[in-house]
Symmetry: C2
Subunit: 446 residues, 2 copies
C-alpha cells in the first residue's frame, strides 16, 4: 500500500533530517499522521496527496526540534536578578533566598514562561531538574512541550518533599502519575556527588534502572567541586562514581567541565552521557569542558542552557554558536566542533543523551512529529550557501517561525498557540514584584 | 527660554543614557529637534510639549544605538561560504578567490545588506575596512547608517585602485568627497604591519592626523602574525609600531589578541584604541584578547563583529553577551567585564574608539539623535530586575524594534524604512549565485 494522505503536510522546505549521512532535501515535504512523521521526500512526490492541512515552509529550513538536555526551567523567575558576582555571593545572597520562597504555583508559572520562551526559540524537548517537579510536568504538558523532569534529591531537607526518604517517594509518585503521558518522561535526579551521599546516589540509580529512565546528576561543574570530592573520597567525581558502580548508560552528567583523561575514559567505558552547558559555564566562570576530547573518545554529548539565572536565556541557537566558537578558541583549532557536529549535539545526540533517540532527534518516518521551521528570508540569513552553517553561525532563536510537538502545532508564524503569552508573562512579573519587595538590594534601581 | 516643543518625542521608555554615572530613567521621554537630542527627562515633564510626532516606546528600553568598531560590511556576500577550516585553506581556497571577483557594484550591494542587518540589530554606526569604499559610503548614506569608512591599503596592488600611490590618492579623494556628509567619516586604513611597509604606515598616520580622522589597522590578530613581525622587525607588532612612532590616540588597533604586558603599557601610554572582536577571534581560533587587562590599564576598548565570513552575523547584542562570558571563563573570574562595562564598550567607548564620542555613544542633549528602542515585552526579557543585565545577557538583535539615526527614523516596529529589504536581499542572492557558478566545491550540496 502506498501512502497518499496525511493529517498535515509541511511543504516547500529545505529539510535537514539529521538522519546520519543524509543530505538536505531541497524543496522537500514532510507528512504527519496523528503524532508521527509518516513520510519525507521531494515536494513533487506529494503532489497527489490528500491532507487535512498544509503548512508552507516558504523555502525555510525544516528540521527536528532542538533538545535542551539541562535546565532549571522555573529559574526564569530569577532572570537577571543578580549577575557578575562571585559564585558564593550570587548563591547565598541572591539565588538561595529567592528559591527558599518557591512553591508549587511559582514553579508552575516560572516553567510556563520557560516553555513559552523555549517554544519560540525552537526547543521542543527539555530536561529539567528543580523543586516541585510535578508542577514542571503540568506546565510542560499544558504548553505542549516534551520534557524529561525529575525532582532534585539531596541529603538535606527539601522545601517540597521534606526529608530524602520522601524525595524518593515523591519521585516514585511522579513515575507512576506520568507513566502513560505522551510528552512527559520522569527521571531520577540526585543533585550531585557533593550534595548526595553515596547511598542516595546508589538508590537513585537502582530506581532509574528499574524503570528504564534517565538519572541526571551535576558532575564536575567546577574545580572547587572536584577538590571537595577529592578531599572526601580521594578521587575525582567521575572516579568516585565509577568506584561506587554509579556510572551507567542511563546517567546524564551535567556540565563535566573539570575532567581528567581517566575521567573521559571512564565516561566512555560506561557509555555515560554528558550535557554540555557552555554559556552557563562561561558566565559562572566554571571553566571550559573538554568537549573535543569527549567527542573524540566517543562520548555522547548533548547541549543544555542551564537555568536562566546563569545564562540568562534559553536559546539553544545561541548555545550552538557559542559551543562551536568556544572550543575552537580554547583549542586554537578552527576545525573542531564543526557546524554539523554541533547541530547533532543539539538534536539527535541530545535525544540520545536523554534516552529518547528512538522517538525524537531526527526526522524519520515513524518518529514523533517534533519539528521546527526556520524562516530564512532575513538579512542575517542571506545569502545561503550552506543551511547547516547558518543554523549554527548565523541564526537565532527568534528565526523559528513554527513549531510542532508530538504532531500538535504549538506555534505558527511566530504566534504561540498553546499558551496565553500575556498572562504567562504577567504571572511571572507578579512573582518578580514579590521578590523585589522582600529584597532591599533590589529596590535600588541599577 | 524653556524648551517646550520638539520634532519628535520618544515617550514611555526605560532610558539608559550611558552618560557616566547616570541611572536609568524609568518612564522617561527623549526629545529630538532636527538631527539632535534636545532634552531627556521623566515623561511627565513633557506633558505640555508640542511635537510633530510621538513614538511610544511602550515601556521598552531607549538607549544609544550600538557602535560596531570593526567590520568588512560587504563580506555579507560570503556569509557561510566556508567555515570550520584551517585559516589558510579558508583564505586561499574560498575567501581570496571570491574577493578577487569583487567590484564597486557588488561591494555596494553587499554593504546595503549589511546595513539592513545592522539597523535591524540596533547598530547605528559602523567602522568599515574593505575595497571600493566609496561604494560603502554610498550604501551607508543610502541606508541612513552612520559610518567610518576607509579603503584598505597594502603593499601589493589592489583590485580597486592599483598600486599603493593610487591608494593614497583614492583615500584623499574620499576625504574630500565626503567631508561635509552628516553620516560619513573617512578613515585611513592600512591593513596591518604584516601587509604594509613601515613607510606606508607612516604616510597613513601623517595623512590621518592632517585631517584629524582615525587610522584603523589590524594588530596582533594571531600568534602567527606576531611571529612574522618579530622575524622581520625583532619586535611585537605593538612594539614595532611604537618604535616607528606609529602609535597614536587616533589609531584603532583591531583585534589585539596576542599582547604582552609591555604592549598593553604602550597602547595605554599612546592612548591607542582597541577594537575587540571576540566572536571572530573565537571562530578563526585566533585566541582570546586580554581585555580585562587592557581595561585595567585604562585602554579604551570598543566592540566589533568583524566581517560576516568569520562571525557569521553582525549582531552586537550577541557580541556583548559573548564578550562578557568569554572573559569570565578565560580568567575564571565571574566578576570581570560586568554588564555595565560591556554595554559601555558597545556604545560610548565604541564612539570614543572612533573619535566620535563628542557626537554619539550616549544620550545627552546636544548629541546626535542615534537612538534605538528595545521591545522588552517578550518571554526571554521577562521579568526585568535590571535592564542593563538584560541588554547584555538576555536580549538579541531581533529585540530592537525602532531605530533613529541622526534624527531620521530608519526602522519602526521592526519595519525597515530606509531600504527595500526584498530588493537588497535579492541583489546579494544574485551575487551568491554567481559565486556558486564559479566554485565547483559549492555545487555539492552540503
Amino acid at each position: 500500500m502506498t501512502l497518499n494522505s496525511a493529517d498535515l503536510l509541511v511543504t516547500n522546505g529545505t529539510v535537514i533530517t539529521m538522519k546520519p549521512g543524509e543530505a538536505p532535501i531541497y524543496n522537500g515535504t514532510l507528512a504527519i499522521e496523528k503524532d508521527k512523521i509518516s513520510a519525507i521526500g521531494q515536494s513533487d512526490e506529494f503532489s497527489n496527496w490528500k491532507t487535512l492541512r498544509k503548512i508552507n515552509a516558504g523555502g525555510g529550513i525544516v528540521m527536528p526540534g532542538l533538545v535542551n538536555t539541562h535546565t532549571h526551567a522555573a529559574m526564569t523567575c530569577f532572570r537577571g536578578l543578580a549577575d557578575d558576582l562571585p559564585l558564593m555571593t550570587w548563591l547565598n545572597d541572591h539565588i538561595f533566598p529567592a528559591e527558599s520562597k518557591l512553591d508549587y504555583e511559582k514553579v508552575y508559572r516560572g516553567t510556563l514562561l520557560a516553555c513559552a520562551e523555549m517554544i519560540r526559540n525552537g526547543t521542543t524537548c527539555f530536561c529539567d531538574m528543580y523543586l516541585f517537579e510535578d508542577a514542571v510536568a503540568q506546565a510542560a504538558s499544558k504548553a505542549g512541550v516534551r520534557a524529561v523532569v525529575g525532582e532534585v534529591l539531596y541529603d538535606f531537607p527539601s522545601p517540597n518533599y521534606g526529608p530524602i526518604a520522601q524525595g524518593f517517594a515523591y519521585t516514585k509518585m511522579l513515575i507512576d502519575k506520568w507513566k502513560n503521558d505522551p510528552l512527559i518522561t520522569i527521571a531520577v535526579e540526585p543533585h550531585s556527588p557533593y550534595l548526595c551521599a553515596p547511598e542516595l546516589l546508589k538508590e537513585a540509580l537502582t530506581l532509574s534502572q528499574a524503570h528504564d529512565i534517565p538519572m541526571v546528576v551535576h558532575i564536575s561543574e567546577a574545580q572547587s567541586e572536584v577538590d571537595e570530592i577529592k578531599k572526601r573520597h580521594g578521587k575525582t567525581p567521575v572516579g568516585f562514581l565509577a568506584d561506587k558502580g554509579l556510572l551507567a548508560a542511563n546517567l546524564v552528567g551535567c556540565h563535566c567541565v573539570v575532567l581528567t583523561e581517566a575521567d573521559i575514559s571512564l565516561l566512555k567505558r560506561h557509555d555515560t552521557k554528558v550535557s554540555h552547558c557552555p554559556e552557563s559555564n562561561m558566565k559562572l566562570a566554571s571553566g571550559i569542558a573538554p568537549i573535543p576530547k569527549l567527542l573524540k573518545a566517543g562520548v555522547c554529548v548533548g547541549l543544555g542552557t542551564d537555568g536562566c539565572a546563569s545564562n540568562n536565556n534559553l536559546d539553544l541557537f545561541a548555545e550552538m554558536e557559542t559551543a562551536a566558537k568556544l572550543h575552537k578558541v580554547s583549542t586554537l583549532d578552527p576545525t573542531v566542533l564543526d557546524a554539523a557536529t554541533v547541530l547533532k549535539m543539539a538534536t539527535l545526540d541530545g535525544a540520545k543523551t536523554l534516552g529518547l533517540d528512538d522517538k525524537i532527534g531526527s526526522l524519520e518516518p515513524g518518529k514523533s512529529a517534533d519539528i521546527i521551521i526556520i524562516d530564512t528570508r532575513k538579512p542575517h540569513l542571506t545569502p545561503m550557501y550552506n543551511p547547516v552553517s547558518h543554523l549554527v553561525y548565523a541564526a537565532r532563536g527568534s528565526d523559528v517561525s513554527t513549531s510542532i510537538i508530538n504532531g500538535r502545532l504549538v506555534m505558527e508564524d511566530g504566534r504561540l498557540l498553546s499558551l496565553n503569552l500575556e498572562r504567562v508573562m504577567g504571572d511571572v512579573e507578579n512573582i518578580a514584584e514579590e521578590i523585589r519587595s522582600t529584597n532591599k538590594k533590589l529596590r535600588k534601581v541599577p
